[in-house]
């Protein structure tokens, strides 16, 4: 029951002025699970992730149980341009073998050749892989990904999906990925949540073996259902026609 990777949030409310973004939100994430969080733009996905990442202070009345090691990857790589790639990954690591650990993590994401590169010389996909390595090198128990692939081209995104799944399998952190891409959610996650009006409005288990294919009938059905949850029935009807 008390796996250290468990996430348990209850009664989380967040307001900006008169704008209530999260409204008594409850969220439980099973240890080692892979969950996708969908929601319209401005529905509060980033706000939720920031609270989980400890970037925003949690309100006192909320009940929040989090693992002690949390890592995050943002939409932009956010590498420090003045540190070489390996030093970015080693940022904040303690202990003598920080560089060795950073190098191994970069090897895992396929950047062994770019250890000494400056971030400015990396492509978008490479920079995002470096950001993944920087998150993983800490062996996080909770991995938060906020639209990490939104800025990448389609081909690079496909490769990143495979890489994220591989890393998740190898390291087993509880993983929460925010995305606005329904396909991405269905492709990657065991469970898809839809955030709406400050609460989890839908909670859907994805019971398909990986690797998953867009052509699979279950994939298509689930995709349609999620689009409907997001209020996109019109488009769905058009597609069906």
């Amino acid at each position: 029951m008390s796996d250290e990777r468990r996430v348990s949030v209850g009664g989380l409310t967040r307001r900006f002025g008169s704008n209530t973004v999260l409204h008594g939100l409850d969220l439980e994430l099973e240890p080692g699970s892979f969950t996708a969080l969908l929601g319209r733009s401005g529905s509060g996905k980033t706000t939720l992730l920031r609270t989980l990442a400890g970037l925003d202070p949690a309100p006192a009345e909320a009940r929040i149980g989090l693992p002690d090691r949390v890592a995050a990857v943002f939409q932009e790589p956010r590498l420090l341009p003045w540190k070489r790639v390996w030093a970015n990954v080693a940022l904040g690591l303690e202990g003598r073998d920080a560089k060795g650990r950073a190098e191994r993590a970069l090897g895992e994401v396929g950047l062994a050749r770019h250890l000494e590169a400056w971030p400015a010389t990396l492509s978008g996909g490479e920079a995002q892989r470096a950001a993944l390595a920087r998150a993983l090198v800490r062996e996080p128990r909770l991995l938060l990904l906020d639209e990490p692939f939104a800025a990448l081209d389609a081909l690079t995104r496909i490769r990143m999906h495979a890489l994220v799944l591989e890393l998740w399998r190898a390291h087993g952190p509880t993983t929460l990925i925010v995305t606005h891409d329904v396909d991405e959610a269905v492709l990657l996650a065991d469970r898809v949540l839809v955030l709406d009006a400050g609460r989890i409005a839908a909670d859907i288990a994805v019971e398909m073996p990986r690797p998953r294919s867009h052509g699979d009938a279950r994939f298509v059905a689930l995709r349609r259902r999620l689009l409907a949850e997001l209020g996109l029935e019109a488009e769905v009807l058009q597609e069906a026609a």
């Binding site: 990442a53 400890g54 970037l55 949390v70 890592a71 995050a72 943002f74 932009e76 956010r78 420090l80 341009p81 003045w82 540190k83 070489r84 940022l91 904040g92 400056w118 971030p119 400015a120 010389t121 920087r134 800490r138």
Partner: protein, 282 residues
């Protein structure tokens, strides 16, 4: 309509045409341009020399280039020029170290803490509107006419550019990078060391370049104050004897000091800012 639309529209209408090859390879073009620059300077020098030799320019107005070169050589050999140069360099070095270090210290205080900003920034912003060279009369009253007012003027001239640019650099830190640093466990000291200061370095170095220019200007003015040594003394002394050749040598030394200072900072920038996209070598 946005620019990209405009461009896209033009591209769609115009038939694709191969880019015409440049007539001449680029490096020869560069070569020619350099030759032209050099040639025009050489022509001016020749005209000047010719006019001096023909008696059109009196030596007490402006000495001939050849005379200036000869004088420079004599001043070097006699040890006079090196002596005065060392005195001037000493003033710049002392003034700069005081000015730059106080500029950096104040920028750190104001940049890294709210209270520091409240205390330091307002007076600094008020003082900077003052043309600092106008303080010379006060400085003479306060510090006399020895070395102190000269060094104080150089310090003052270099402190402000460093303070202003470094403060702006610190305050311009990308909040997204700060967040990344916090997520990855940096404490306040770690954030300052790994995120804030390296991020502020480029603008701080721009400030340093301004500071060197400003220090040189301060030096020129300061050395007009009753100096008994230094390049400024050399020039003033030469004026009393109508030695325009010595005056020009002094001016050339000032110019070389300026160039040298700039090259120094540029060299340092190339090393310290090697990570910047425009400095990364292909």
């Amino acid at each position: 309509m946005s620019d990209t639309h405009a461009l896209g529209g033009r591209g769609a209408v115009a038939p694709a045409r191969p880019v015409p090859a440049p007539r001449r390879p680029r490096f020869r073009g560069l070569d020619l341009s350099r030759t032209r620059r050099f040639a025009s300077s050489a022509v001016i020098l020749l005209l000047w020399q010719g006019a001096s030799m023909a008696g059109l320019i009196a030596p007490r107005t402006l000495a001939a280039p050849t005379t200036i070169v000869a004088t420079a050589w004599e001043l070097v050999l006699s040890g006079e020029l090196p002596h005065h140069l060392l005195v001037s360099l000493g003033r710049v070095a002392t003034g700069l170290s005081i000015g730059v270090s106080s500029g950096v210290a104040l920028a750190l205080i104001a940049g890294l803490s709210r209270r520091g900003e409240e205390i330091v920034d307002a007076p600094m912003q008020m003082l900077r509107t003052l043309p600092f060279l106008a303080l010379v009369p006060l400085f003479i009253l306060w510090f006399g006419i020895g070395e102190t007012p000269k060094i104080a003027l150089v310090s003052l001239g270099s402190a402000f550019p460093v303070y202003l640019t470094l403060f702006a650099g610190i305050r311009g830190t990308d909040p997204k990078l700060m967040e990344a640093g916090r997520v990855f466990g940096l404490d306040r000291a770690g954030l300052i060391r790994h995120v804030v200061l390296p991020g502020a370095l480029p603008s701080g170095l721009v400030g340093l370049r301004y500071a060197l220019g400003s220090a040189l200007l301060s030096l020129v003015i300061a050395e007009q104050i009753n100096a008994t040594a230094g390049i400024g003394f050399l020039i003033n002394d030469a004026r009393d004897f109508l030695r325009t050749d010595v005056i020009v040598v002094g001016l050339l030394v000032y110019a070389l000091l300026g160039l040298g200072a700039d090259a120094l900072v540029r060299g340092f920038e190339r090393r310290a800012l090697a990570w910047r996209p425009n400095l990364i070598k292909g």
